[in-house]
């Protein structure tokens, strides 16, 4: 029986090649998208799962609420909070502070810069990183201990057999010797924490100065709880700690109320397993994904699949009549309804399996570039887990049932005699077909709106004036010991400035988006202040082309008492006359009275998702500038860079030449968005193509059904445009009606997506109308070519066709 069905199905599919192709291509595109989404979502959901004590590991996080009620999510915390938590709470049994840093490794084959982690011993006890040699816990307990991964060990020494090996490293604190006391496997790709080397926290310069400072937030804190959280409540612990050490940030006042008129902190535990899906806590170390973007991707995949389902179902319904005779005959020879349903569903299953095979082929071919785009290593072959295949099975099952069940029931419920005579009983399909077409077009419009909105928003963000001119600015890193920075930053600044291709050079503590200190203090009158503070020299505004709005710029003779603030600072603290304002008590030092000498215009240095914060620029009294920003002339950029490189090497042979363009740094801030944009564009094109293919099929059916009518009308004198109009009318109406469904859905979803950007486009009628016209245009073009052919055909031919 199976063979019989298989043979007749294959013959039938082979006979209607066009329709079969539409169905198989549609389903395979839908399935490919779904499998990709499935792989990706499963991948992102299984981060950090390998840690044995995962259910007890948490990140301490801070939801800081401003006086106006705005919530700021911070993974950064004061350094002393770590030990204080251990000391105060019996429920917290381990804690590890950790932060990102950079070192220069002086290895056998030269000096390399390396991103590293500063961390505490418990890190390797709480998390399950496989140990190859030595004891990473003990390593971080030593002031000169060092943990390397297999990869960095192999890179610098060509072996993992390194225990006891001295390694010379330059940190901010200077160059000194460390000993390799632990070698671990590379962190898995699905690990939130990525590192090459881990140094003890004490080796971090900031730690040596801020270990006891509650006013600066510059570390991540991981804790292990005695049991899974939920059994106990740490609210009181956090409150007690804040009341003791930062009462000005306590979430309750002395009267036990939620404070008004000042910022307060809500400390809480974020399960480590959720860190990867908590974009609000993004930092250099934590690079979470936005679940909303994952949902958008999954949504695209679902829409593609649904369009494919609609295509299949509509074409099947449209061609139902061609099956009537066969169904009638099978009835006569003894088939019952269940037999017929099974037969038709078997056909759908066969089509779906063909499509699945093709989509596996497509996946094999496209996964590498998709992985490259997303920075992931998704693979079909490693997806050996049962869950994946079960979900895939479920997916195919849903596809087959959704696409086939309705037409199958229609066929199976036909009366044998009606079937034999080819009678369409009540003809309700006409209405359901039209409804289906409308739904399908509306899905296409939804995807189009999404693609247009995402595209426009990304363009907006990238074209948004950042408040400075990021092009033609080169960022040089001065990788040397802290003590030598004042000397080398000045000397190299002079070297670079001397070149004719260089317009100006500024010394800065860090690149644009890093090296900002978050400071909070109270002035002598008790008023709370907070700002992002960065160390720059007097050429910073000029080099970055940031506008000075009032007052004067920093000058060579200015010291640490002169400060520039931004507009947001002036606004946030309500300074009527900012110039000359004395910031007494700055950074908690009652003896200092720095003065505001100028106001510069706001500029963005994080992604435009967030608003501009109050900022202060001042000169670093110790001249610890790690970077040089050089603005170079637009002509002969490569020549200038070449010359600058040569001069650098001559002037400072011991400092590796290390530079990159500022605009590249800026682009990197939007990498997630750019990925999303690329994926959206692809999905939109596929959706449009699929639904055009479906409409093409529908139009073919419609026109062949009306061939005779068209012939008669032409004989009666109808013109070609009249007939085209006749044939297109239903399609136009469907396309227009589709908007009624599509617009509200698309509007709500995309409005929500836009909500996560502080700076965003207006979702106006333009985009909705644009998507609608695009969909209408494509359906008209599709239909038009066919209708044109039908309308211009010789009427006698079409009548004879009968």
């Amino acid at each position: 029986m199976l063979k019989h069905y298989l043979i007749s199905t294959l013959r039938r599919l082979g006979r209607a090649k066009g329709f079969t192709a539409i169905n198989i291509i549609g389903m395979s595109v839908g399935l490919t998208g779904s499998v990709l989404a499935l792989l990706l979502v499963r991948y992102e959901l299984s981060f950090d799962k390998y840690h044995e004590r995962l259910d007890r590991i948490h990140l301490v996080v801070n939801r800081s609420v401003s006086a106006s009620g705005k919530v700021d999510h911070q993974p950064w915390l004061p350094l002393p909070l770590g030990p204080e938590l251990l000391a105060t709470s019996t429920e917290i049994v381990r804690s590890a502070r950790l932060t990102l840093g950079e070192v220069i490794v002086h290895g056998g084959s030269g000096s390399f810069e390396e991103d590293i982690l500063f961390g505490e011993p418990y890190l390797f006890e709480m998390l399950s990183f496989a140990v190859i040699a030595g004891d990473p816990v003990a390593a971080l307990a030593q002031p000169d201990g060092l943990v390397m991964t297999r990869q960095s060990a192999m890179k610098h020494f060509g072996t993992v057999d390194l225990i006891g090996q001295p390694v010379s490293l330059t940190t901010e604190a200077g160059r000194r010797e460390f000993r390799v006391l632990g070698v671990v496997e590379n962190p898995p790709a699905q690990s939130t924490l990525q590192f090459q080397m881990v140094l003890p926290l004490q080796a971090w310069l900031t730690y040596t100065t801020r270990a006891l400072n509650w006013n600066a937030s510059n570390t991540h804190i991981l804790v292990e709880t005695a049991g899974p959280v939920g059994k106990f409540d740490l609210t009181d612990t956090f409150l007690a700690i804040l009341l003791k050490n930062r009462s000005d940030r306590a979430p309750v006042t002395d009267q036990g109320e939620i404070p008004t008129g000042r910022r307060y902190w809500n400390l809480s535990l974020l399960p480590f397993v959720e860190a990867h899906l908590s974009p609000q806590y993004a930092s250099g170390l934590l690079q979470p994904v936005d679940p909303q973007n994952l949902m958008i991707l999954a949504g695209f995949a679902a829409i593609l699949l649904i369009i494919a389902i609609f295509n299949f179902m509509l074409l099947a319904l449209g061609r139902l009549q061609s099956r009537f005779k066969e169904v009638g005959v099978r009835r006569v020879v003894g088939a019952n309804g269940a037999d017929l349903t099974a037969m038709f569903m078997g056909e759908v299953l066969l089509t779906a399996l063909f499509a699945l095979g093709i989509s596996f082929l497509i996946l094999e071919l496209t996964l590498p570039s998709f992985n490259k785009l997303l920075g992931r290593d998704l693979a079909l072959t490693t997806a050996t887990d049962l869950g994946f295949w079960a979900s895939l099975l479920l997916l195919v099952g849903i596809l087959v049932l959704a696409a086939g069940l309705y037409p199958a029931r229609k066929l199976a419920s036909l009366q044998p005699v009606q079937a034999l005579h080819g009678i369409d009983p009540s003809n309700p399909e006409k209405r359901s077909i039209q409804l289906g077409v409308i739904l399908q077009i509306s899905l296409t419009i939804i995807i189009l709106v999404a693609a247009l909105v995402i595209n426009k928003q990304m363009k907006f963000i990238q074209e948004q004036p950042l408040g400075f001119n990021e092009s033609q600015v080169v960022l040089y890193k001065i990788a040397t010991e802290m003590d030598e920075l004042p000397l080398w930053s000045q000397r190299l600044k002079e070297v670079l400035s001397r070149d004719s291709g260089v317009q100006s050079v500024a010394k800065v503590s860090y690149s644009v988006n890093r090296g900002w200190n978050r400071l909070g203090w109270r002035d002598n009158a008790g008023k709370p202040w907070r700002a992002l503070v960065k160390d720059v020299d007097e050429d910073y505004l000029k080099t970055m082309e940031i506008a000075l709005l009032s007052g004067r710029d920093l000058a060579a003779q200015d010291g640490e008492e002169a400060m520039l603030v931004n507009e947001a600072f002036v606004e946030a603290f309500g300074l009527d006359e900012p110039i000359g304002y004395v910031l007494d008590g700055f950074a908690g030092d009652a003896d200092r009275d720095p003065t505001i000498i100028g106001v510069f215009s706001d500029f963005h240095f994080f992604s435009l998702r967030s608003e501009v914060a109050p900022m202060i620029l001042w000169k670093n009294p110790a001249e610890y500038y790690q970077y040089l920003l050089a603005r170079i002339a637009a002509d002969d950029v490569s020549g200038t860079l070449q010359r600058l490189g040569d001069s650098w090497k001559r002037a400072a042979p011991g400092i590796p030449l290390n530079y990159n363009f500022l605009d590249e740094d800026i682009q990197a801030l939007y990498i997630q968005e750019q990925k999303l944009q690329a994926v959206t564009r692809g999905a939109a094109i596929l959706a449009l193509t699929l639904s055009a293919m479906g409409l093409l099929g529908m139009a073919t059916i419609e026109i062949s059904r009306r061939t005779k009518e068209i012939g008669i009308r032409k004989v009666l004198g109808a013109s070609v445009p009249e007939i085209m109009g006749l044939l297109s009318r239903r399609m136009v109406v469907s396309s227009l009606l589709a908007n009624i469904i599509a617009w509200p859905v698309a509007w709500i979803v995309m409005q929500k997506w836009l909500g996560s950007f502080a700076y965003r486009i207006e979702l106006g009628p333009g985009i909705l109308l644009g998507a609608a016209s695009l969909a209408l245009l494509v359906s008209l073009l599709t239909l038009g070519t066919l209708a044109m052919r039908a309308a211009t055909a010789n009427p006698v031919d079409s009548l004879r066709y009968e």
């Binding site: 029986m1 066969e326 020879v333 088939a335 009366q415 034999l420």
Partner: protein, 220 residues
């Protein structure tokens, strides 16, 4: 008694009222009888045969087939009746276009779940009997009308039905081909098969034991 029709009527809902196709049909056919139904075009012959073949439901009245009330049977039971008991031959042949001659004839056996080896034997036998072995791999579109009808007959007879219903089986055939089919019916009849055929032709009708005249849905 194999067939008993009591006050069978059939009408279609048209516009304002009902259009009657069959009225007040009372008819009994015994096991082993050969009956012809005659009447002008539109008299309702096909409709009556469809009802007898459990392909259509009467609008009223009662149909007992082998003692069972057909209208109370489920879809599954009807399928069973059709495949186990009834063979149907159409004037328009009604072969499945995507299937070869062999496969068309084999189809009823598939629904009866006959084992593959046995099936092969049965189809070969009947191909032999109708001398169409050479055509077994052709598709219906590659056959003449007469040849297609032979296949239709072979398909109806493959399961050796107790009741053979034929709706103008010779309508599209030459008189010689018609003759052959009637001869075949005679043989089947002698072997005990109950046959009901609808026909326009007096000559064909005469092969039967009994002729029933149908006029505007009435038996006259």
């Amino acid at each position: 008694m194999l067939i008993q029709l009591i006050d069978i009527e059939k009408y279609y809902q048209t516009g304002a009222g009902k259009t009657f196709v069959l009225r007040n049909i009372n008819l009994e056919i015994d096991q082993g009888e050969f009956v012809s139904i005659m009447g002008p075009s539109g008299a309702g012959k096909s409709t009556l045969l469809h009802i007898l073949g459990v392909l259509d439901d009467p609008s009223g009245g009662s149909y007992l087939l082998d003692g069972h009330e057909v209208s109370s049977l489920s879809d599954k039971h009807r399928g069973e009746l059709r495949r186990e008991m009834i063979g149907f031959i159409f004037q328009a042949y009604h072969l499945i276009d995507e299937l070869t001659v062999y496969e068309n004839i084999e189809t009823p056996l598939l629904y009866r779940k006959v084992k593959s080896a046995e099936r092969r034997g049965m189809v070969s036998d009947i191909l032999d009997r109708f001398q169409i072995v050479g055509k077994k791999d052709l598709f219906p579109a590659q056959l003449s009308g007469g040849q297609q009808q032979v296949v239709g007959v072979a398909r109806a007879l493959i399961s050796s039905p107790r009741l053979l219903l034929a709706d103008e089986p010779t309508g599209n055939l030459s008189s010689k081909e018609g003759e052959t089919i009637m001869g075949l019916f005679k043989e089947l009849h002698e072997a005990g098969t109950t046959i009901v055929q609808a026909t326009h032709s007096e000559a064909n009708a005469a092969w039967a034991d009994r002729v029933i005249n149908l006029q505007d849905g009435w038996i006259t």
